[in-house]
Symmetry: C2
Subunit: 386 residues, 2 copies
């Protein structure tokens, strides 16, 4: 196991009806907030009213930034920073999933920065100050509700990049499973693929002797799969929702990431190029890329890929190479079974789009820890997705 520092200050309030607790928690640090949300589903399912009623009852004023889209864009962040400064707010309240939370985190960091907050994504600026961030989670996927990371697409340069800061952990995240009952099935499935990908990026990073981390990782994956299968039959199953939600949070809150080398993150890098160009859902991009990446790099650590197959799919008495391949096949089949794309064609991405993706990814190659990938490796992985 590697040396590590673990500290996660986010307070999680979990359970049905807990959105009502938001106002009093916000009031401790803020009199006026910016609330950030997406395309209005929170007005249909009642979450918007619950949030604003809670703020009202604690005498917290607010201004609004609606309209955040999946694969959130930098210009929206700029709008938010401008609005936040003009209105003199004290905190940001994100009501949504990863896109809304990451937009909120970037606004909260940009509020204090005199330069262009895109600098945080290119490494030119290290974020060390942020407005307080509060989250009401409505889609479980990215884990952003309990970590310091954010992913934003610069739509001008077609770069989908991320930053991470200790000051960007949400102060409080409210996780109400019943707030996700009304999610379309495809969003539940996309969220599951994202959570599994986070665990696997960390799991396959070539750090030896990480038994406790691997046990937790495998437990998260098995729970995500089990809960997702239940939810696709019955989206209102409270306990399956609760198990999925908490698993997706744990997938990237540090608990299975400490003690490793930092994760591989190649599949995310390739997917970010894919969704920067083709605007597909992140989870759907990952269900295409991840099995192909696994197939391409499996010989770098075939024992670990075989362990994955045995622990997740109970693949028995075969050698490591066969076990590894069988596990990858089963994962791909599972994604297909829950309605996700597993080829570029499934996602309506033309085969001749591969070169565009390679070119976009080449802005950041080499990347990856288990195997350092050059543009030609990215091309070969994408060809496996055909």
């Amino acid at each position: 196991m590697k040396d590590f520092i673990f500290q996660n200050p986010t307070k999680v309030v979990f359970g049905k009806g807990k959105i009502s607790k938001l106002g009093s928690e916000v009031k401790k640090v803020a009199n006026k907030v910016l609330i950030v949300y997406g395309r209005g589903s929170i007005k249909d399912n009642g979450v918007y009213d619950m949030v604003t009623n809670s703020l009202k009852s604690s005498n917290v004023d607010w201004v609004e930034l609606p309209g955040v889209k999946p694969n959130p864009i930098l210009s929206k962040v700029y709008d938010g920073i401008e609005l936040a400064r003009k209105e003199g707010i004290d905190a940001v309240v994100a009501i949504g999933g990863g896109s809304v939370i990451d937009t909120s985190k970037t606004i909260a960091a940009g509020y204090h920065y005199k330069g262009d907050i895109w600098d945080a994504f290119t490494g030119k600026y290290k974020v060390e100050k942020s407005l307080a961030i509060f989250v009401v989670l409505t889609i479980s996927a990215t884990g952003s509700e309990m970590n310091g990371g954010a992913v934003i697409t610069n739509e001008k340069t077609r770069q989908k990049y991320s930053f991470w800061a200790t000051t960007s952990y949400p102060k409080l995240s409210v996780l109400d499973p019943s707030a996700q009952f009304s999610l379309p099935k495809i969003q539940t499935a996309n969220g599951a693929a994202d959570a599994i990908a986070h665990v696997l990026e960390l799991y396959f990073d070539n750090t030896p002797n990480t038994l406790i981390l691997d046990e937790i990782s495998e437990g998260i994956i098995r729970t995500v799969m089990n809960s997702t299968e239940i939810l696709l039959r019955n989206p209102n199953d409270y306990d399956a929702r609760a198990n999925l939600i908490w698993s997706a949070t744990l997938a990237l809150n540090g608990i299975n990431g400490t003690g490793r080398s930092g994760g591989d993150w190649s599949s995310h890098a390739i997917e970010h190029s894919l969704s920067a160009l083709y605007d597909i859902a992140h989870g759907s991009g990952l269900s295409i890329i991840f099995p192909a990446w696994m197939e391409y790099v499996r010989h770098e650590d075939v024992e670990k890929f075989a362990r994955f197959s045995r622990k997740i799919f109970e693949i028995g008495d075969v050698d490591d190479e066969k076990a590894a391949l069988e596990g990858i096949k089963r994962l791909k089949k599972w994604y297909k079974d829950i309605g996700l794309p597993v080829t570029l064609h499934d996602a309506n991405i033309p085969f001749d789009g591969i070169e565009r993706v390679v070119e976009n990814a080449a802005m950041r190659t080499p990347f990856g820890r288990l195997k350092r990938l050059e543009p030609n490796d990215v091309r070969k992985i994408l060809e496996l997705c055909a």
Copy 2:
């Protein structure tokens, strides 16, 4: 899954040589500290020198409270509070395991309380203020390095009680696996039994639909068992130490306790009566009591006991009752194999001591969540330990 609030602010610095980081972290909040430790093993293994050198290099002064014993006692806490007030210290540095940490937490809480700090253990006083607590961990067992709990024995009344406060989480805990290389094997084994017991108290608390929590719990137990077996052959195996240490911390830092009903804690209650009277190691008390408690209450949730057997000992194709009993038998055998007592006789406790233990436990009965235990239940469980 039940509603929960999760927040754990402790910063963990993990790895070989990390004790050197202590001074600069302490200096952020304190110029003078009370260092608390046990019976001198830290002077033999170099940990004392590492701590004091680190404090010196950051210009932190200290006074010392040595001599904390296993099953730590209230009079030592009083000594510490008196010394801390006289010397005007700003923080407490615990160098040791659970006994030292819990003594330190109680001193840190008592420093600000005008009454008798024993009130915190009897429920008369709710701890809401504490000096900052820093930990250098030298025995992994209680998980106290990353939670807000403390257990102290009032040696006059023979009460071994606990308190829990959000202000009692350590600010920082340094976990250096190499600092535990010199532990006697029996202490490694006792620590393993304690960590397993924490997981099981939470696991068997009769909350339905807790898949993600159960997966994590089972992963912790398998890792503790695997790592302990390696360490009894080679106490200096760094990675086994690292896996055991982090597992024991996770066993009681909230990550597998959230979403449950709060745990059963009967075995701990009975063990506390046992060790308050007979001064045996807590882990050794638990290796005697826990299998007997399991046997006695198994019909309250035989499916869960069967699940335990299947997930931990891979017990196959038998019915739940048989699986449950076989798992209990195997756990008992495993404790015996690692050198722990599994009967009162093994620990030199006379059979006629049972009535004394029942009488002591009766100060707090009824207790337990899976099954509420009355004094007669405690007697029957102890008889199963004969």
